[in-house]
């Protein structure tokens, strides 16, 4: 007699198998169809046996289509495997193999060598990219080095290095037009092949490193049960952790070095494998195989779509494909759970009064505001605003300063609330797809609407943001805002809107370039109305965050405990999510999607010594506003009359500071 539990388990596994098979069949069919389109199937065997290429159609198959299929499978396998290792070891479903800085490190090294050492680039771009990836990885591990290589610290250091390299990269792109398209294409990632070089390069690399990872399978599984358990079984946790993460990072670095940044597969493949086979203990192989199939399918779709729409980044296509799938699965399946290894360790430092720190921040903010308003470059050099030219400063400068302060505060508070209520240090405001939603609205307006009706940038961006916001809240409502599912829904929606945005931009021609600056965060076009609006939202978010501080505090203890202590989980999470979303939407609409402030300020505030929730919310608002106002001032003047994005500068200034603080707190 079978028990009900076993039946459910079997039916779940069966359902997972069916979905996986359907994906695999679709990928194979598309691949074969592509081959048959160029060369009749009767000629295939001949071509394979002789390996001699004479007609152009044979060349197309042999040098173009075949290696592309092979590369998609190998790269997908590598990314899926790397993603699974990261998510298991770090116990975080937002982790992906590029997390420790390798992809952005590789990108930065390539771009810099192209611009400043072309000879180096020519001698082997793959080597340059791998060196960059290696350096970034060493930096991250070096910063996080300390007691037991805590996951939290590793993640934090990885994110900071990623954002920092990303900011440098964006700067290089913005200041070097000739390279713009090529660099952007590299960043977008493509499996377009023109020979076997890429496949020959990638296959042995992935084979060796994957073998090493499979040898470590047992220790990795033990590590995911928690450091204590692993130790009891005789696994030296810090060494093992670093070794496994470094191997998984190498996988991502190999793929990135050859084909550019292929986003999303490393994140989606493990998540998909988890929802497809929720009962399976072994995570690595299912995730790797899912990655291979997923990337092949996405790439074949890209190949077909590109005949009509031009080249599309394969990562974006994967997002379009898996985004909705993730959302649907998150809604339907049982809880797709990771073994959480590390509970948040309660801080040993006693909550100390932070009144003096808050006071200092207020003072600094005031000084910076005054500096930003009165001092700046003009046609005659550095210039202090006098009563004679105060009108011009009021018209053009004040809106930027007010908007920077408001948006910085909004993003920092939103990030803080999201990270606390969803209990994930990687949760950032742009995760929920709201930023991309706003961008999508803007892109549609610029590219598709007729010239005659110049829409307000703010109106169209708001529409986009509100639509995505509504969908997030609506979908999460059904799950009572369960953190894991809300995150999955956020990731799914985010990747879908991102993919749509990429598609719209690809069709936009030169008009799309106007959006570039908005994407890196800019205050250059803000009017006073929008600036005041975002400040009002920031104030409301602040009030909401301070009033809900007890809920946030208790929510950190976990759902069961918090519920037992009388927290209305659904209501409190709904309130938190709506506050964070509205804050993000307002800030994004005004100055564009900024990752750094929302993601990093909450951590900065914690490391700086803020412990109590209410104090932290206020601290976030002040820190966010301060960083953005200062960055905006710097950005306005540093290469005058050109602008430099305050979003990038914030990462520039905040990145090293944060790395230093992380390192110091780790050593203590």
């Amino acid at each position: 007699m079978r028990s009900v539990a076993i039946t459910t388990r079997q039916s779940l596994t069966l359902r997972g198998n069916i979905v996986f098979l359907l994906l695999a069949i679709a990928a194979t069919a598309l691949s074969l169809n592509g081959l048959a389109h160029s060369l009749p199937p009767s000629h295939w065997w001949q071509l394979l046996v002789s390996a001699k290429v004479s007609a152009p159609s044979e060349a197309l198959v042999f040098y173009g289509l075949l290696p592309r299929i092979v590369v998609a499978l190998v790269a997908g396998f590598a990314l899926g495997l790397g993603g699974a290792v990261f998510q298991q070891i770090l116990g975080n479903q937002l982790a992906e193999p590029g997390l420790l800085g390798v992809s952005s490190g590789a990108g930065l090294a390539l771009a810099a060598s192209l611009l400043y050492a072309p000879a180096l680039w020519r001698s082997g771009p793959e080597v340059v990219a791998l060196t960059g990836a290696g350096l970034a990885l060493v930096l991250v591990l070096g910063v996080a080095f300390g007691r037991g290589m805590a996951s939290h610290t590793l993640i934090l250091a990885g994110v900071v290095v990623n954002l920092y390299c990303g900011a440098l990269y964006a700067l290089l792109v913005l200041l070097n037009h000739d390279f713009l398209t090529d660099l952007l294409r590299w960043q977008a990632g493509s499996l377009q092949q023109s020979g076997w070089h890429g496949a020959r390069m990638l296959f042995p690399q992935v084979a060796i490193v994957s073998a090493a990872i499979f040898l470590m399978q047992r220790p990795i599984a033990l590590l995911s049960l928690g450091v204590g358990t692993a130790k009891a079984f005789g696994v030296s946790s810090a060494t093992m952790k670093v070794l496994a993460l470094a191997c998984a990072s190498m996988l991502a670095a190999f793929v990135t070095a050859s084909f550019g940044i292929i986003g999303f597969i490393g994140l989606a493949a493990p998540a998909l494998a988890r929802v497809l086979w929720p009962q399976t203990r072994a995570r690595l192989v299912p995730s790797a195989v899912t990655g291979a199939v997923l990337l092949l399918l996405a790439d074949q779709l890209v190949r077909i779509l590109s005949q009509y729409a031009g080249d599309i980044p394969v990562g974006a296509a994967a997002g379009l494909l898996t985004g909705p799938l993730l959302v649907v699965l998150a809604l339907r399946h049982r809880k797709p759970s990771l073994h959480y290894s590390e509970t948040v360790t309660p801080s040993l430092v006693k909550p100390r009064p932070t009144a003096r720190l808050t006071g200092a921040l207020v003072f600094l903010l005031l000084v910076t505001l005054i500096l930003a308003f009165f001092v700046g470059q003009s046609q005659t050099g550095w210039h202090i605003v006098m009563s004679s030219d105060v009108e011009s400063a009021l018209t053009w400068r004040l809106p930027r300063i007010v908007a920077a302060a408001g948006a910085g505060a909004c993003l920092a508070i939103s990030g803080f609330i999201l990270q606390r209520s969803l209990r994930n240090p990687l949760a950032s405001p742009d995760l929920l797809g709201i930023g991309h939603g706003a961008g999508l609205g803007l892109a549609f307006a610029i590219i598709l609407l007729p010239v005659a009706g110049i829409w307000s940038k703010f109106a169209v961006a708001s529409i986009g943001a509100i639509v995505v916001l509504g969908v997030v809240v609506l979908l999460s409502w059904r799950n009572a805002f369960d953190p894991e599912r809300t995150l999955l829904i956020g990731v799914g929606l985010g990747s879908t809107t991102n993919a749509l945005l990429v598609l719209v931009l690809a069709g936009g021609g030169p008009k799309a370039a106007a959006l570039l600056s908005w994407f890196s965060g800019s205050t250059g076009g803000v009017g006073i109305d929008e600036a005041i609006a975002v400040c009002v939202v920031a104030f409301l978010a602040l009030v909401s965050g301070v009033m809900g501080h007890r809920w946030l505090e208790l929510s950190a203890l976990g759902d069961r405990l918090a519920g037992g202590l009388g927290v209305l989980l659904k209501t409190s999470r709904a309130l938190a999510l709506v506050t964070a979303s509205v804050g993000t939407a307002a800030a994004t609409v005004v100055i564009g999607p900024l990752s750094f402030v929302g993601l990093m300020i909450p951590h900065l505030v914690r490391i700086a010594g803020f412990r109590r929730m209410a104090d932290s919310v206020i601290g976030c608002a002040l820190f966010g506003a301060l960083l953005m106002v200062f960055s905006d001032w710097l950005g306005r003047n540093i290469i005058w009359p050109w602008p430099m994005s305050p979003g990038l500068l914030a990462a520039f200034i905040g990145g090293p500071l944060l790395l230093w603080l992380i390192q110091r707190s780790e050593r203590r």
């Binding site: 290429v53 090529d182 690809a506 008009k511 050109w642």
Partner: protein, 308 residues
């Protein structure tokens, strides 16, 4: 291997640069015929955010007070920009404070730049540069832009007529010079990673110039709103007999040639195997009449270099 890349024997370079100056001079001499009108138009201070408007003004002999991104303009555009023209920042984010400081009478801008900084209308009268010709033809658009810029600067329409007619006349001279044998052309910008190309199709400036030169654009596939298509080399297998006219961006030349040399797929394209590739100097694909003429000169010279 170099022959496959530079079939003319030597890479393009000096030769094209000298032509660029000749071209600029010839257009300025057109404008010079009306030098008295030039002086009187100098009173209106114009800021041209849009480059096609800026080049049209220059062709008409009107020097704008400021242009967006002057550094890159000087490097990329086929005509010189006087030293005293100010830089107001990149087209995607104009420096509003500086613009207010310059206090122009008129701002010429394209709609996508205006949406990023809508309130520059507080500074001066804003005019949006034409973005589509009534006929839908991209070359007609360059003439529309010329007329619009001239009209905005307060010039007599006859002056724009003269410059437009001179341009068309020059193109018909070039057309007569072209060799008769090969008429199918594909204008391509290969990317330096050897992954693919940007193809200029119907509705793009190169597409329109090919048509005016009596040549056939070999790319009949899909294009985006700007007449451009980004694709892998595999897309080029379908276009049949054609001469590939490749755009040479000096800063990227080494990377691009190396990428093409090592690409098995590129090397097996019929046109490449038979050495039917030519290189031309870079041009501004979203430009106006001067850019169009410059491109026509470059294409003609590249095809004449074929020897037939």
């Amino acid at each position: 291997m170099t022959d496959a890349i530079f079939p003319g024997g030597s890479p393009p370079g000096k030769r094209l640069h000298s032509r660029r100056h000749f071209l600029a001079l010839s257009l300025f001499s057109i404008a010079g015929m009306h030098s008295n009108a030039f002086a009187s138009a100098g009173s209106a201070r114009i800021v041209a955010i849009d480059w096609s408007a800026a080049e049209s003004l220059l062709a008409l002999g009107v020097v704008p007070a400021a242009v967006s991104d002057t550094g890159y303009f000087r490097q990329r555009m086929p005509l010189p920009l006087p030293d005293d023209v100010r830089d107001v920042g990149p087209f995607w984010e104009i420096n509003r404070e500086l613009l207010a400081d310059i206090a122009p009478d008129l701002i010429l801008i394209n709609s996508s730049s205006l949406i990023m900084t809508p309130d520059i209308a507080k500074i001066a009268r804003v005019e949006i540069v034409p973005e589509k010709a009534v006929s839908g033809d991209r070359y007609d658009l360059t003439i529309d832009i010329l007329r619009h810029a001239g009209g905005a600067a307060g010039l007599e329409p006859s002056r724009m007529d003269v410059v437009a007619a001179q341009g068309l006349e020059r193109i018909s001279t070039l057309r007569a010079r072209l060799p008769v044998s090969t008429r199918r052309i594909c204008v391509l910008l290969p990317d330096q990673t050897g992954r693919g190309v940007v193809i200029y199709g119907k509705g793009s400036l190169p597409g329109a110039v090919l048509q005016r030169l009596g040549l056939e654009n070999a790319w009949e596939g899909p294009v985006n709103a700007a007449g451009i298509f980004q694709a892998g080399f595999d897309a080029l297998f379908d276009i049949g007999e054609a001469i590939f006219v490749l755009i040479d961006i000096p800063a990227l030349r080494h990377q691009t040639t190396k990428a093409l040399e090592t690409s098995a797929l590129w090397q097996s394209l019929p046109s490449v195997r038979q050495g039917r590739t030519r290189w031309i100097e870079q041009f501004y694909p979203f430009g106006g009449c001067v850019s169009a003429l410059h491109l026509a000169e470059a294409i003609t010279a590249a095809l004449e270099g074929a020897g037939r």
